[in-house]
């Protein structure tokens, strides 16, 4: 789960990490009031759940209220990578002496939370990671001890080189680690963390994402969720026990298991088609799931053919067949459907489907090829 910058800032504040004063605005009028209230040079920043705001013109410096209003007019409503900007954050502009990068994330390889830090802060940190990886400190944290004070201090000294600045930065690292753990985050990043010209250390921009599996024990984080239309669709699918991601193609896929679902999409592509979605009905055998899944699939106007690919393990193929039959009764679609059933109770499932006249095939490859062919007929 992702949150906006203004929400990450709020969490930072709650944990005592210094951030410049800022006001969230939904309208140009609010931007004007905010700039007036802050009464200084400000930065107007688009609040969207995607990266690359800066490059897209979603972040602007304003020397006075008029410039803030202009920036607000430009940014509010603009489109950034498909996201419409509905709100902006107006913050005090800081006098930057130097920019740093610090962030925590989970590392699969060390199986630990890892601190990443660099004296090369700012938006181009990923470039640094590729071209000068030695300029990024990666420090895996022992989960049994957490980030120790001396570790935070020593890393901060490497970045700042001055003990008074380093002490301030170390305190921020310690707090950032604490909030990372306590909120079940999967990313907590400050970029840039700045040293101001008057020797303060401030978090200018913050990004946080959270472990969906842990949201059940993070009610405060869950309350911050602001899903967009696509995510709402995914969440709705999740609530039905389905995992769904919409794509741009025209062949709807319904598969059991994420790996097989990905392999199915790959196969469609391999044979020259284009998948309309990722849809995993999971491991259970509930026919209702199949009905729900068909509902979602056929709700996508781009879909010209449907490929159903089931390898029964826990999932029983006859249950899938039953669900499919019911779904077709209700949905009465014209869209062609190819079904491949294999594994547990495949014979029973295929027998049930015989009456529907749906084309059934025995291998994934065949199914993909057939679905592509059918998608072109219409």
């Amino acid at each position: 789960m992702k949150i906006h910058e203004y929400q990450a800032r709020q969490i930072f504040r709650n944990y005592g990490i210094p951030v410049p004063d800022g006001i969230l605005c939904y309208t140009v009028r609010e931007v004007e009031n905010a700039a007036r209230e802050l009464n200084c040079m400000t930065v107007v920043k688009a609040q969207v759940l995607t990266g690359g705001r800066g490059k897209s013109g979603g972040v602007k410096l304003a020397r006075n209220v008029e410039e803030a209003v202009t920036a607000g007019k430009q940014i509010l409503g603009m489109d950034i990578k498909g996201f419409t900007v509905e709100k902006v954050l107006v913050t005090k502009a800081a006098d930057i002496e130097k920019e740093f990068y610090v962030g925590f994330t989970n590392d699969r390889n060390t199986k630990s939370v890892t601190l990443m830090a660099s004296a090369e802060g700012g938006v181009e940190i990923e470039e640094v990671a590729k071209t000068n990886p030695e300029k990024i400190i990666k420090y895996p944290i022992n989960p049994l001890t957490g980030l120790l004070d001396f570790q935070a201090r020593n890393i901060a000294m490497q970045l700042f080189g001055n003990i008074s600045h380093a002490q301030k930065a170390a305190a921020i690292l310690t707090k950032l680690y604490k909030l990372y753990i306590e909120t079940d985050a999967t990313l907590a990043e400050i970029n840039p963390l700045i040293l101001t010209t008057d020797n303060e250390v401030l978090a200018i921009d913050g990004k946080m994402t959270f472990d969906d599996n842990a949201l059940y024990r993070q009610p405060k984080i869950l309350a911050m969720r602001e899903p967009d239309a696509e995510e709402l669709q995914e969440i709705a699918a999740n609530e039905k026990g389905l995992s769904y991601i919409k794509l741009d193609g025209n062949i709807g896929c319904m598969v059991n298991g994420a790996g097989l679902a990905m392999a199915t999409m790959d196969m469609i592509k391999l044979y020259g088609g284009s998948p309309a979605n990722f849809l995993d009905i999971g491991g259970s055998s509930n026919p209702q799931k199949v009905i729900d899944a068909m509902n979602i699939l056929l709700g996508d106007k781009n879909v010209k053919a449907v490929m159903i690919n089931i390898f029964g393990g826990i999932t029983r193929c006859d249950d899938v067949a039953k669900g499919l039959i019911k779904a077709l009764e209700v949905l009465m679609t014209e869209i062609p459907i190819v079904v491949r059933l294999s594994g547990t109770n495949a014979a029973e499932g295929l027998a049930l489907l015989k009456e529907t006249g749906l084309p059934t095939v025995s291998s994934m490859s065949e199914a993909a090829q057939k679905a592509i062919e059918l998608s072109k007929h219409k």
Partner: protein, 293 residues
Amino acid sequence: MSILVNKDTKLIVQGITGRDGKFHTGLMSKYGTNIVGGVSPGKEGETVEGIPVFNSVENAVKATGANTSIIFVPAAYAADAILEASEAGIQLVVAISEGVPVQDMIRITPILKQNGTLLIGPNCPGLITPGQSLVGILPAMIFKEGNIGFISRSGTLTYEVVNLLTLNDFGQTTCVGIGGDPVAGLYFIDLLERFENDPDTIAVVLIGEIGGDAEEQTAQFIHEKMTKPVVAFIAGQTAPPGKRMGHAGAIISSGSGTAEEKIAAFNRAGVPVAKEPAEIPELLRKKLAGLKK
């Protein structure tokens, strides 16, 4: 021979009285797995499918000498259940539970290491040594005794590929579904090492996925340490790049976890990567034929 589970496996089922635990206890038992007990607090003295239930793993181990555990408890309690098994001296824990918070797994990892406990999963289908022991939810009928090692991050894709292997007369020593969670127990490399040392395994099939850089590291390992042929498949070649999650994810692994990068890494290591699952038996045949020359 085989790896991790065999005729000497003495299994307990944590969460044996739950819906899934009960169901799969039946299936595993039917397959011939030596299930010696189950754990469900407060139900000591009861039986499930004729198997005695204990209040704690400690009690179960004391009474039965169990050395392996499979976990079916809900995600919120899975990490605690794994630790309970580990602290009671269980050597191999297979966690089926899906949706375990990552921080839980990170927290328990060093404890398992200290205790010398091996973990498979969570969020995995388990493992099977055909003809000997099924410790998981894998559909038994598709497996066949033989000499191919099999490792996969995915569930049903495993079945798809194993089925193809079996149909092509490639039986398996042991098949392991390691699960796709970001922080899990045994990884590809840990298992390849074991297959390399298993005298009965002559080649390994490895099914990877996009995300992370486990496959890249594995390719490096194969290049440096494996003498036995490995054939791979990577799922997710057409998956969308996904919404950006800040910079850290990409920074942490120098690559970005795409299928192209993984395939390139395997190819550099001399590991053929199948374009589609159906191609795997053929690649395997070629590799093994090459060996015989």
